[in-house]
Amino acid sequence: MARNSWSRYSNRSFYLFVSPWVLGFLLLTAAPLAYAFGVSLTNFDGSSPRWRWVGFRNYVELFGDKEAWAALLRTVAYTGIAVPLSVAGALGLAVLLNRRLKAVGLWRTLFFLPSVVPVVAMAIMWKLVLNKDAGILNAILNSVGVKSISWLVDPMAFYALIILTLWGLGGGMVIMLAALQGVPAELEEAAIVDGANRWRVFRHITVPMISPVIFFQVVTGVIATFQIVVQPLLLAETNSIAGVGQVPQSTHLYMVQVYQEFFTSSRFGYGSAMLWVFFLVILAFTLLVQRSSRLWVHYEVDTDSDR
């Protein structure tokens, strides 16, 4: 029986292997979050050593801060428009490509390409396209008799940001395409033989089969668009973080407001409180969505099992 007491596994080797992530998580994620919470209880301005504790005053102020609320609502509106459109667009493109087409690989590459363009280049490109006087979009609109639109200022900047977001939906398309290819063809064919039309097959067979993937896309999409800050910054006339105050009102999202508190107003304490509230909002959203997912996401296998 002595042989059974021998084990190839030891806690030591496991922890040795996972220690880079455990230490990294503690020092580079948990510690900064804890530090931010500490700072959020002070009136620290980023440099002066003469800060003091203010308790939860920053949080109380934030609760009555009209600008922060407006920025949060704007963020929700932006997310509420951009995420459904990107997910639906990604699914639509994937359906279009999931058939006997010539050069499927080429089309896929074309649509996937924009999603790997660095954000800085993306912003420069779209500023050129959307430029009021020299941009190609207004030139096209002019040629069909529509007057030039000021895309990069209020109120159109909001839509410019959505266009920019939609341009990058190729990553989602690739995922959807892989999911569609995993749907057994027999199921769809059986339904067609039974007299269902294509739309009903799509609606009642294809979509439920890939609903876990759609669900995942929505969740990660919401979290990604919630935290957007670089795109509004780079689409604006400003060219640095210090110029964050010049971001147009309509793209002044929550994280833009946070950066403004940090770098224009030097209110590190207040900005940290904003970060923490946002962290809790995102956490609550994630938990809520996870809970509700069982109601409408179809899992072929039990999700509780480990592998």
Binding site: S10, F17, V18, R100, L113, V119, V120
Partner: protein, 294 residues
Amino acid sequence: MHVNRHGRLAPAAVTQVRFRNLRVSAGAAYVLLMALAVLFVGPFVWLLLAALKTRDEWAAVPTRILPHEAQWGNFVHALTDINFPAYAANSLFLSTIYAVLITASSAAVGFGFARLRGRAKRGLFLVLLSTMMLPQILTLLPTYVLFSRLGLVNTYWPWVLWGLAASPYLVFLFRQFFAAIPRELEDAAIIDGCGWARIFLRIFLPLSRPVLLTSFLLSFTWTWGDYIAPALLLDVDHTTLSVAITAWYRDPHGNAIPTVQAAAAALYVVPALLIFLFAQRYFIRSVVASGVKG
């Protein structure tokens, strides 16, 4: 005989139904795809056209589509008006260091979660998965404040630290790969008296070459494309190409020069696109692994 797209024999009736549907919609599908392709590729073309125009041609009313003569000089200006090669070297250096370190650390952590056992492993893995959801932008500002107090601003240490800390996303990618490797490989090595470190380095790592490449390319493009971290942490001399091309192409009056900036953006985006085109299947693999397996 009719074979459907999964290579299985399909009943003739089904194929005919499909065929008729396809014939009607295939033409429409190509038209739609063409129109969409113009939308997706148009901005690239417009960038290149802007990079080849004179400033007057760029600003001309009504809008000019093509330059009268290609202004290759814009690219020379892009390379020489600011110290482009130095910033490109910074970007390259930072991206490479980060990609090498994070690939190594994520592979090790992924191996631990896939093949080893230890107390609280399940709980730790849940924490790891949930940090995949945690926006990095939330921790970046406090990290910046902490790093500036520790004197790490204007050094490349933050990227070394981030690299050593492994990425939950890449850990997940490696874990999925390592978990699928048959146990017999490991058994044989253990009987030969190998420790886990040797098993990892000699057996599992060589097997995972495609995942290593995916991880390296992916993390390389993350840093190459990152704007906010270098903008916060690095000054004019240390910063990367992404920050440099955003702001510093100005004429003596302080106005941005769009044509030269377009040329610079084209030069900046080329490495990222080349990596992507040559290694597309690796990118698709990683995207799909993260999205479908969730």
